[in-house]
Assembly symmetry: C2
Homo-oligomer: 306 residues x 2
């Protein structure tokens, strides 16, 4: 019934609908300075795979939501993801000039505007979540703020930039082995927002505790498969395919799964994480198109690395 093509077409529809809604977001701030709103839109509408909002929508659908109540959560997570990219690209952080094949926000505008555009997107994400009914809104805001904050994404980013600045000394100070440090960093830097996407979707859809646990397991493995793949592509990819400088992370003295494990072992582990993610969905309704779409999204992750 649900062929691979039908699932792909549905995901494309969801992405198109998301784009339309992201396009209208700036109507929320009629008094915002033009340059600020333009910088926010530049980064928000500049493409990307939209994985996190799709995870929100699919988790909600799998949990029984049929009324598209999950849209505010889907928009909010993409806003937080976009803010994190803008700030990560800043000269004081990763100092990237290109992102998704275009100039980064601070290159296209200016550094002050980029900092502020990130701040406004992060702030706006919580505003958008208040469009949900209040108990659900509150739970989603709790999930998103914890996942994006000092214990989550921002904490992981601090570890990432400090390792790049201090190298081995930072590991010694924190008393951790490289592989343990790397797992822990990405569990927060990339994983936290992916789990938040799935949990917000599950919360909006009214999922059972056991479905939430399955989705968190799926999210943990999805996050790892995603990050390992990203590290492999950083080494293998062409600048054109990646839309940004390649072999940059290794060159910047960053710890990556490839520098830690080597290429072949990284490929093997990415494949293993995909299998774990699929196994986590074993008890879900296999006829639900959202389940099939979640399977499809994670399976596609490492395909580009061969």
């Amino acid at each position: 019934m649900h062929t691979h093509e039908a699932i792909s077409a549905w995901l494309a529809e969801l992405r198109a609908s998301l784009q339309t809604r992201l396009n209208c977001l700036d109507a929320l701030w009629p008094d915002g300075p033009q340059r600020l709103l333009s910088a926010m839109n530049y980064s928000l509408l500049g493409g990307g795979k939209r994985l996190r909002p799709l995870l929100v929508l699919l988790a909600a659908r799998l949990s029984g939501d049929n009324d598209a109540d999950a849209w505010p959560a889907a928009l909010a997570i993409e806003m937080v993801h976009t803010y994190s990219l803008i700030h990560d690209d800043l000269p004081a952080m990763d100092n990237d000039d290109f992102r998704r094949g275009r100039a980064t926000c601070h290159k296209q505008y200016d550094e002050a505007t980029a900092v502020l555009a990130g701040d406004a997107l992060l702030t706006g994400a919580f505003e958008v979540l208040t469009q949900l009914p209040s108990p659900v809104a509150c739970e989603c805001i709790r999930i998103l703020s914890r996942s994006a904050g000092a214990d989550g994404m921002v904490g992981g980013q601090e570890d990432d930039v400090r390792y790049a600045a201090c190298g081995q000394q930072y590991l010694t100070d924190s008393g951790r082995e490289p592989s343990d440090f790397l797992n822990r960093m990405h569990h927060r830097k990339t994983g936290a927002l992916i789990r938040a996407a799935l949990l917000m979707g599950a919360t909006v859809g009214g999922a059972s505790d056991s479905l939430k646990e399955s989705l968190i397991c799926y999210g943990n493995s999805f996050g790892l498969a995603f990050q390992i793949t990203d590290d492999i592509l950083d080494v293998l990819g062409t600048e054109q395919a990646m839309g940004k400088r390649v072999a940059k992370d290794a060159g910047a003295g960053k710890l990556t799964f490839v520098t830690c494990w080597g290429l072949e072992e990284s490929r093997r582990r990415a494949k293993l994480e995909v299998e774990h993610a699929l196994a986590a969905l074993a008890h879900c309704d296999q006829k639900n198109p959202a389940c099939l779409a979640l399977q499809s999204l994670v399976s596609e992750l490492p395909e580009r690395t061969h």
Copy 2:
């Protein structure tokens, strides 16, 4: 009954209690990197007049709150204020090395950590607000996100830094007169957060619509009196009294109330705004210590400028 001394002592108690609570905030993020939490605490605990959280607590008390339910809102607004100072001080923005007599966050730590500490404080503010009962939490999150975002504080800051960078051309592009531009900028950059403090307090305390309106009027005049005073002190103050470089704004080509109106007219207008603020409280219970404290806070603002 409530002498000036009694009100001062009560405010000092509230400030001390606030400091104790700010001190414990990092317990919310047990997995946060040490350096990040240390940078957040450095800026959060580094002093300041704590005007915004006091406005939250006083507005709540004036609105009938006796159970100290307003604390999460008081902490949240101080977190947002602190994040805004950290980001405003960055080299790409105001490029300040000193704040409250100490090195700014990016000088004491590093620029990446300062950006991230600001991000984590902003994110954490919304987390803290979810400690309120959910309908009140949602309303406070709506108030704070709108006031701090593109239409509010961040929008005002964008106008401020762009005027500093482009001068008269920025006014010409936005089609505004200097005095109109300045009012509009501060209405958002400083005023929005002050109004948000009062409105969140009023929301927690269950204020009537008419009390909310009075508090917004008070807040508008408080914000203007505060900013005009700040601009006067920038010209008059000694570095020691201000804890930061003085005559910096005028030197940086910034538009200030003093450059716009001159010193005497600025003093006159600050005094006028204090009178407006006091008048806005005319219908409040004059025996309520919170009313007396609000009168006292706004009256003290321009006193240091003589």
